[in-house]
Symmetry: C2
Subunit: 720 residues, 2 copies
């Protein structure tokens, strides 16, 4: 079922249940706002005392309302909410916006009440915003609903805005007004019992009036669903998100604040990136980016031209453009010639184009017009510093005139002038964004470019490889039978191989003769690794010996290991030793899986060996991966240069490494009970460039695994 | 001589040479500004036509002025400037501010004129601001000089501001006015023929009226002098700098703009850091930080308390505080109890302290007062979101009242309200900074904390070790004699050892018997390394063989090397092989020196081996290093964790590594002609934790070296 919030967001009639005549109460404010903003339909105040509220006849009960009601805005005390919902149902109301607080956010009892509330909403086939929210707004002229109690009346525009924090949502509406940043619809989702950010995204997907979506989130309710929706919608319109609760301390504040579990930030970061959501880290940047998207087309490339009347800000803009990795456009000779024909000789016609301080309005117009026409230019920053006798607002108007005639490329104005200028602008219709500082303009262009790259990015596929599930299941069942969550190295490598992951040749030996036979059959040099049910960090006990070159050396090393283990009292757990093909290579990568309690299995890839924890050159993505995700993971770490073959090493087989990640992704998607999985190192073979799993560790969540594999917990008979 | 700019910055009388009656010219504007701002002294317009200018009698020549003149502001055409200076000298004027453009920035001819200008200034014992500048301002009531042509009149305050860009300087003055950020003195240094940023810093060092210094720079003229001055002054008052021209493209724009060579950004970054200068990357941040320093004391620690009436911004502030590495203050039980006594039960008295949306002004006052008194709290962010019936400006006034009674700790207000609020504030006297967003407040606190840490940081000493200079000089002379800029590995290691740097035991052998003898005397295992005058990247030709365990193996490897080189035609340049003690260790660091053309020798330290270029985990400082610099370098790289002894390795001898850096610093300070020096790897011995130079490469600038060491270029007789 596609999310349809029309009854809530485009109602023809609204009942305000809990409307009040008492000043500075929500029940009074909501009534005032609906009327002040001239709601395009009937408003029915409901109050048990009846009377006249804001000039309208109040009904003592929703059932008394004569006409049909699409939306009930509920502001009654929490203890009356459930009964009110029953009455709304009786009246045939399908849309609810419950502003009343006192539910999940207050503790166990409140959570129970919220559960009942949701059950009723579902049972009655309603949709519900809230509880514990600020309300809803739609500025569409045919609707004109200001159903919230923020300080200021809404400004018309084309942003869809969802806020998880009520009070903050109100603050933001004020600021949007102040910034002349209009919006189409606003939903304060509050405790998001029913409607949440995902519902809004889905509802706005095909809503023409909403051209970009802004989210303030403290948690993501259903990450998989969010990912699917956002990935699709961001291809059509930008989604900008501020996800708070990044720090451990912040997350704990978030969880006490909204009563929802805040996900770890790494998982959130991965999810947003994979979904094409533009993540901002401050409201200031969120609004700045929204202003840019509201006034700019998506560019065709990343080549930026800078026009200025002062060197300094031109340099600062150049610095910022380059730091974002965008290109300084190479102005064509034709353009240069044209510019030279009217600019003074002291002007610079190279990019940044410096018209010098005395540039009159006419030069601004001609220069912008000429540069927009340059085929080497995708985006433009136009800088103005006050100069004797030139009025900032006149320059801005002149630029907008040129922009109106040439709407195809983004142009951002940087006007280092007074706030009075920006105040004037906010009373005007503008067709391009203006900022005070160069860096803000570069930041905006970077976001446009990011959206361009995302829209051009292939969608990617989640491949499905032919794998040996039976083998994997039998290995895991074997471990479960022994009550082990942790698979042995041998078992881990067998699982990987069953999923077609290239691991090195090996065998298990439990006595000296087996050891030597294996060594001889694999061929020297070999590696010897202990495998134990009790010791998981093998290197700490000298349990790994490499480059064993002969039968004689192998015998010696095996004996040495046994005596070391005996000395430390660790001989007991020893299962045997793995004799393994020695893969020669100096480049150690790592890949693996961590499970985020909220976001599920998360894949990691990066530089391995002893550097994993020190350098932290790793990247994360939520599973399952698409082929594009996997390819991006590989390219996004610094160690990618090593894979490419730095300093004369064999270039790695990127396709094969990508496939390794995809097969791993399939493994953890098939068996969601896998809690941890590490391949460290994934050694890059110097001979072939293959990534070869040389070591593996897998840990499962036993209870879940038993359930999934159909083993009874008490089963000790070997049936599974 | 201590910089004294009193004649320019605190003149008792000013001649405006080139004063004009023509509207919108600099000669007219300067006259207007001086009078509008009520300059506290005599103003003498000078114009060859005489007449009345801005109501004052104009003199046709500066010599006609009846009284004494301290400062001449010169706005005449460039071709008259030199003569004007002569006349000023004749008149006995000691201070010049040359606004006129047309000098160094226009090319060779202009540069020549500027040279002559400077020669006159020096000869006459004058000080001169400019040419090609915007002017000078001093807002001190006893002076009241607005000697520049920015759009708006100055705002009184305690910032000293230097701008290298004239137009930008004007823009900034407008913005400062707009932000209600007053300043004490402003110097537009323009082409900085005489007075530059360093002069201003020195002049302001003991100027009480200047409490913080702001710099806009595109280049640093004399890095060593800047470093010495700034290091001293930043211990007394903060210096904030925006250094533009960071990107290659930006730097090229900077160099065409100001006619000065822009230094590489890495060197500038190191210099500013070592000097305790707070570097900002945008004007927006520069002003925000200035606002914070203007209204906050330096805190005693980094523990931050957050007070809010809304959860969301509290979480965002927490995120930002933690991301800056500051601590969330642990509120004492006593404070919590006090807070609970008046806050509602739904409030949270843990940090962030959430008074909930309905908090009245009284709660803001009581909460702030209580939290300021908490001994666990060093700094405070106080957040306000609009709530029904509460006026933002009233809340701000209440907070400032509490702050006035408790000035000892920094308090920053975050008011997520409209720009009208900030406009109101700018007409008031404020005693704490207010921002719109949480992140800005956290950013401000972080800067305060940075200044605290710098002021607490020990000054550090540049040690002087007893070294063998004669040996170094003889080695380098030997190379020069052979016309080599690049020392051989052997020579390089000898140089390091002469400076007391721990390098591994070694010897040079040129035939098989020597090789074997050396191996036997050093003791196995050894490393064999080719040393060649033609091949510098030894690993690329298999020129390094490690872990040679016996005489037999050594013979074999030596023969192998010779045949490999022969095959590649590289046998010619082979000097021999170094047989070297094999230092066992897995941790490879790198240290070395690069020379920046403007900043001189720059030291590098970080993770070595094949990772240097891939991971770029390195840090830079300008030589010479103090002990504190060296210690900070070591701690600032990620690989520091490896040095501490990650995963069971031997902890490195930090003191010894620090000494290695300091000895290197002494080496390049003694021999400034050393162009490049690399120790890669500086291997951390697993046995002792020492950092041991296992390989070394040194390159000199031959011409300079010959000059410094007294070798004639033509010398081929072996005299040197």
């Amino acid at each position: 079922m596609v999310a349809n919030l029309d009854k809530i967001m485009k109602p023809k009639s609204i009942a305000v249940i809990g409307a009040s005549t008492k000043e500075h109460t929500i029940g009074s404010d909501i009534m005032k706002r609906l009327q002040e903003y001239k709601f395009n339909g009937n408003i029915y105040p409901v109050n048990p005392k009846g009377g006249i509220i804001e000039g309208l006849q109040a009904y003592t009960n929703v059932l008394e309302i004569p006409g049909e009601v699409d939306l009930a805005i509920i502001v009654v005390n929490a203890k009356f909410v459930l009964d009110t919902i029953d009455q709304c149902h009786e009246k045939g109301i399908k849309g609810l916006c419950i502003i009343t607080a006192g539910f999940k956010e207050t503790g166990k009892e409140g959570a129970e009440a919220e559960k009942q509330l949701l059950a009723k909403v579902k049972e009655y086939g309603m949709r519900c915003v809230g509880p514990n929210c600020l309300g809803v707004v739609n500025t569409l002229p045919e609707v004109r609903m200001d159903g919230c109690f923020a300080e200021s009346l809404p400004e018309r525009g084309h942003i869809g805005f969802v806020s998880q924090s009520g009070a903050l949502g109100g603050g933001i509406l004020n600021i949007l007004k102040d910034l002349n940043l209009g919006f189409a619809q606003f939903i304060s989702i509050g405790n998001q019992a029913d409607v949440n950010a995902e519902t809004a995204i889905e509802y706005w997907e095909n809503e023409k009036d909403v051209e970009q979506i802004l989210l303030y989130m403290e948690s993501i309710q259903n990450p998989a669903n969010f990912r699917e929706l956002a990935t699709r919608v961001t291809k059509k319109k930008p989604i900008l998100a501020l996800k708070a609760g990044r720090s451990a301390a912040g997350a704990s504040a978030a969880s006490s604040h909204t009563g929802s579990l805040a996900g770890a930030d790494k998982a959130a970061a991965a999810l947003l990136k994979q979904s094409g959501v533009i993540r901002e880290f401050s409201l200031e940047n969120l609004f700045a980016t929204a202003k840019v998207f509201a006034n700019c087309p998506i560019p065709k490339g990343d080549r930026v031209a800078i026009i200025t009347n002062s060197g300094g800000p031109g340099i600062m803009a150049t610095d910022a453009v380059c730091e974002y990795g965008m290109q300084m456009a190479k102005i064509t000779d034709e353009t240069k010639e044209k510019l030279r024909s009217f600019l003074p000789s002291a002007a610079s016609v190279k990019n940044p184009i410096d018209m010098i301080a005395s540039a009159p309005i006419e030069h601004y117009k001609q220069t912008l017009e000429t540069v927009i026409a340059d085929e080497n230019v995708d985006m433009i920053i136009c800088i103005y510093l006050p100069f004797l006798g030139l009025k900032d607002i006149d320059v801005a108007k002149a630029l907008m005139e040129i922009k109106a005639a040439n709407p195809q490329k983004p142009v951002i104005g940087v006007f280092m002038t007074t706030s009075e200028f920006f105040a004037k602008l906010s009373d005007m219709d503008v067709n391009m964004p203006f900022f005070m500082y160069s860096e803000q303009a570069a930041d905006g262009l970077n976001r446009l470019n990011q959206q361009r790259l995302w829209m051009e990015r292939p969608e990617g596929k989640i491949p499905c490889y032919d794998v040996d599930r039976a083998k994997v299941e039998s290995i895991i069942k074997g471990a479960l039978k022994e009550d082990r969550a942790q698979l042995t190295t041998l078992e881990s490598i067998d699982v990987l191989q069953a999923y077609g992951i290239r691991a090195c040749k090996y065998g298990l030996a439990t006595n000296e003769e087996e050891v030597v036979n294996l060594g001889n059959s694999i061929g020297y040099p070999v590696v010897m690794k202990m495998t134990s049910k009790t010791t998981s960090h093998k290197t700490d006990v000298g349990g790994v010996v490499v480059n064993i070159k002969s039968e004689e050396q192998l015998r010696k090393e095996y004996k040495g290991l046994l005596s070391r283990l005996e000395e430390k009292g660790l001989l007991e757990g020893l299962e045997g030793v793995i004799i393994q093909e020695m893969v020669k290579g100096s480049r150690e990568m790592v890949c693996g899986i961590a499970t985020d309690p909220q976001y599920g299995p998360m894949m990691m890839f990066g530089l391995g060996g002893v550097f994993v924890e020190v350098m932290k050159d790793v990247t994360f993505r939520i599973a399952p991966l698409t082929d594009v995700d996997a390819s991006e993971m590989i390219k996004s770490v610094k160690a990618y240069k090593l894979l490419e073959g730095a300093r004369g090493t064999t270039p790695a087989q990127m396709d094969q490494i990508q496939e390794t990640l995809l097969r791993l992704s399939q493994l953890v998607s098939d068996y969601k009970f896998i809690d941890e999985l590490d391949i460290n190192p994934l050694l890059i073979s110097e001979a072939t460039g293959e990534g070869i799993a040389v070591d593996g560790r897998i840990k499962v969540r036993m209870e879940e695994a038993r359930k999934a594999l159909g083993c009874a917990e008490s089963c000790a008979c070997g049936c599974c």
